[in-house]
């Protein structure tokens, strides 16, 4: 019975990771990825590893989405300027 919270966190991680893979647009993938980062932090907390959860939270909730969104924007901008040149 006490494993219910672990099961819930595991199911959420599995479902959100599958959803992140199933998205086609990188920006939408980044949105699901930030959700996945937060749920992973909860899973680590439930498994009594709050130090891992702390670093996961710092990286997963803000840093990874920022990197992905910045690179998506740069790639789109580069594509746009190339189209203008040709």
């Amino acid at each position: 019975m006490s494993d219910a919270v672990t099961v819930v966190a595991l199911l959420l991680v599995a479902a959100s990771a599958t959803a992140a893979v199933a998205q086609r647009d990188p920006a939408r993938q980044a949105l699901v990825l930030s959700f996945l980062g937060m749920v992973l932090a909860v899973l680590f907390t439930v498994l009594q590893a709050p130090d891992v959860g702390l670093s996961q939270l710092a990286v997963g909730s803000a840093l990874t989405p920022l990197l992905i969104m910045l690179s998506v924007r740069k790639v789109r901008r580069r594509g746009r300027t190339k189209e203008e040149r040709t």
Binding site: S16, L31, T45, P50, S61, A62, P65
Partner: protein, 149 residues
């Protein structure tokens, strides 16, 4: 398994499933709103878990999430500025989440009792609700003049 962990399980299961459904389907505006609400769902769950395990140190995770969650949402609001439109039910969802956060913080505060940890809990609640409101206002286009481009 005590009542706190049971409450965290129910809260995480219901809110997490709803937030996942919102973030993985639908138009971009709804996905952004759901991503913003994820912070408001996960942070109370962490507070309840810290209380359930009787480990005050676990509250630090909730503090970090209350700080970084709105930052993440603002990153999306800033960089997705081309396609953001405010959804019809943004305000209702925001205030529902704020009420949930306030209820959980008050309940955990009542269990902890006055002291330094209660001040920390109140700080987390303030950061959480304030960040949630600021982020949802940014999603609704309130700061478009500041962050345009």
């Amino acid at each position: 398994m005590n009542g706190w962990i049971l409450a965290a399980t129910v809260e995480l299961g219901g809110g997490g499933a709803a937030a996942l459904w919102g973030v993985a389907t639908g138009p971009p505006a709804r996905r952004l709103t759901a991503q913003n609400l994820t912070t408001s769902v996960v942070c109370p769950a962490l507070l309840l878990l810290a209380q359930g395990y009787a480990r005050p140190a676990y509250v630090d995770l909730a503090l970090l999430l209350a700080l970084l969650g709105p930052v993440g949402t603002l990153v999306f609001a800033r960089l997705l500025s081309g396609e953001q439109v405010s959804g019809p039910n943004v305000r209702g969802a925001t205030w529902t989440a704020a009420g949930l956060d306030a209820a959980v913080v008050v309940a955990v505060c009542a269990a902890v009792g006055p002291g330094r940890s209660m001040v920390k809990l109140l700080l987390i609640g303030t950061l959480l609700i304030g960040g949630n409101i600021i982020a949802s206002r940014a999603l609704a286009g309130g700061f478009r003049g500041v962050g345009g481009g």
